[in-house]
């Protein structure tokens, strides 16, 4: 973590989140369309996890595989991935596929077939608990699982939720990106998933509901989750339009189409947004704008 991030963790998360949006806009603009909305909504969640992740101790599962665009950016900005690779996102033969694979860097597991990630995360948490008997460092590890609200329509998520609560997997934290967006439109227009927090509570989870685009709120929620005596879910209310003010009102948040002029404007806006707070923190991630 950079010095500014240590002094003010929320500011560090906010800055990394802005860089995630900027990098995602650049990656998507090369193709003219893609998963920019997911990077926009989950930027603070991914940034917060990357600020907390201890290598070889903690685990990170990105259940919705198309969110890996945000992971790629976060990994590149935290020295876990060669930033030059971001310019190959989604290309033929590229390591960085638009929907995550087994080769995807920066995660312990991701899955493009939605709803499967929480089961894997529960398996990792159970493995860490079993490792306790052998004194393995992962016994002190935390498993972070990023889920999306649309995934709650998959029954397997609720199987996994029951399993984790029954087995009291208290080192498991779900970051639930409630951006109210899925392929066919707003989630609430397709399936009523509310009350989300009450559902998880009824399944035996500790719940914290926050503005998921507020860095301080997200960090506070992760602290509360870590203190819980059971698995915990951070119900993060977010927007696919966060930081993308230039986006037209009728844009499809799930799979954003960017004409060149709009792409240029979004990138310019995000570059401005990231440049300002990064001033005076030479050598930090905030100044690494020239990866392309």
């Amino acid at each position: 973590m950079d010095e500014a991030g240590r002094a003010d963790p929320a500011a560090g998360v906010g800055r990394l989140a802005s860089l995630i949006r900027l990098d995602a806009a650049r990656m998507v603009s090369r193709h003219g369309l893609g998963y920019l909305g997911q990077a926009a909504s989950a930027a603070e969640l991914v940034a917060a996890v990357f600020r907390r992740l201890r290598p070889d101790v903690d685990s990170f599962v990105c259940s919705p595989g198309h969110y890996v665009i945000a992971v790629y950016a976060a990994a590149a900005r935290t020295s876990r991935l060669d930033p030059a690779l971001l310019a190959t996102y989604g290309d033929d033969g590229a390591l960085l596929e638009a929907i995550g694979t087994e080769r995807t860097p920066g995660v312990d597991m991701t899955c493009g077939s939605l709803g499967q990630g929480l089961s894997a995360a529960a398996g990792l948490a159970l493995a860490d608990r079993l490792a306790g008997a052998t004194g393995h460092p992962r016994a002190a590890g935390r498993v972070y699982a990023l889920l999306s609200d649309g995934e709650l329509e998959e029954g397997q998520v609720w199987e996994a939720a029951m399993f984790a609560a029954h087995h009291r997997l208290d080192r498991l934290t779900v970051l639930l990106d409630c951006n109210n967006s899925q392929v066919d439109g707003p989630v609430d227009s397709i399936t009523t998933i509310e009350p989300v927090a009450a559902k998880w509570a009824a399944f035996g989870w500790a719940t914290v509901e926050v503005d998921g685009n507020d860095p301080a709120a997200v960090l506070g929620a992760l602290d509360a989750a870590a203190d819980a005596d059971r698995p915990a879910v951070v119900v993060a209310r977010t927007s696919v339009r966060r930081g993308l003010a230039a986006l037209p009102a009728d844009a499809d948040g799930h799979f954003i189409t960017l004409r060149p002029d709009l792409a240029d404007r979004l990138v310019a806006d995000l570059a401005t947004a990231t440049a300002a707070p990064a001033a005076g923190t030479a050598g930090t991630a905030g100044t690494e704008g020239g990866h392309r």
């Binding site: 087994e102 499967q116 089961s119 894997a120 398996g123 990792l124 948490a125």
Partner: protein, 335 residues
Amino acid sequence: VKPPPYPTELKPYGRALLELARDRADVLCLSADLTRQCEVDLFRDALPERFVNGGMAEQNLIGVAGGLARRGWLPFVHTFGVFCTRRPYDQVAMAVAYPDLPVRLVGFMPGLSSPGGPSHQATDDVALMRALPNMTVIDVADAVEVRQVVSALAELPGPAYLRLKRGETPVVFDERTHRFDLHSARVLRSGKDLALVTAGMMLPASIAAARLLEQHGVELTLVYAPVVKPLDTRTVLDACAGARAVLVAENHSVIGGLGSAVAETLAEAGLGRPLRRIGVQDTFAEGARTAAYLFDRYGLSTRAVVAAAWALAGCTGPAPQPPAETVPAGSYAPV
């Protein structure tokens, strides 16, 4: 090999897994509410700290197993065959097969061995698992091999599906001489007329049929191929090359299982032989109370194997009929 009837054993798998787990601290036993039925009540009672019951939630359990395997554990997942293949297929594909993890899926009640109706009959499990890259598919039904396959699976780096008969398991092979391995099919007898390739629960009927046919002048080479994938194509091709026609007998749909694997092998090698597939003929099997009834009704009996071989060998006249045998209590004989 000796002819039926065979003595039987109860819970050879459950005992073998427990024995393996006592030797290897990385073995975990996962169950999905069918613990006693899958013989792992033995494991649960002896090593509860390494037993996980995920309840009736197979999709989740497969994902959990994948997570455990990613961290170096060796999970054996137990339920009925239909519930660890057909129901959680996407999970097996994405959480186990694609990452090439050492998860062992152990599915009981293969093919028509269940009185549970089509919902419980794993008639397409081999086809489903065979279609997945990285997956090893094994169909054994002999207690000696059940023991040996468990130790063999401990050493396999990738995923495997093992289908096992539930309840009394026949002892067909000689413990002192039989050696299962993951790479070899076994030629149990040789004959010039036909090649019969079989696996799993069709082994006893195939042995009985081969003996009866021999008494009536039809000689066949009997190949036992419990590892359906990767198939020992060398042994299969050698056996088929020496025969005028080929028969495959399996307790599974004729689509996608051992019969398909043999057909593909022959075709790709350019070895043209007439081929007949004994198995479930692309249908769901209703009317279940006993496995014996189902095996007879759906063409998996010794009589069916004999009749198919008789016709394939070009013999005229009625096919020989297997004698009605009385099976001593506790013994196993094919229908």
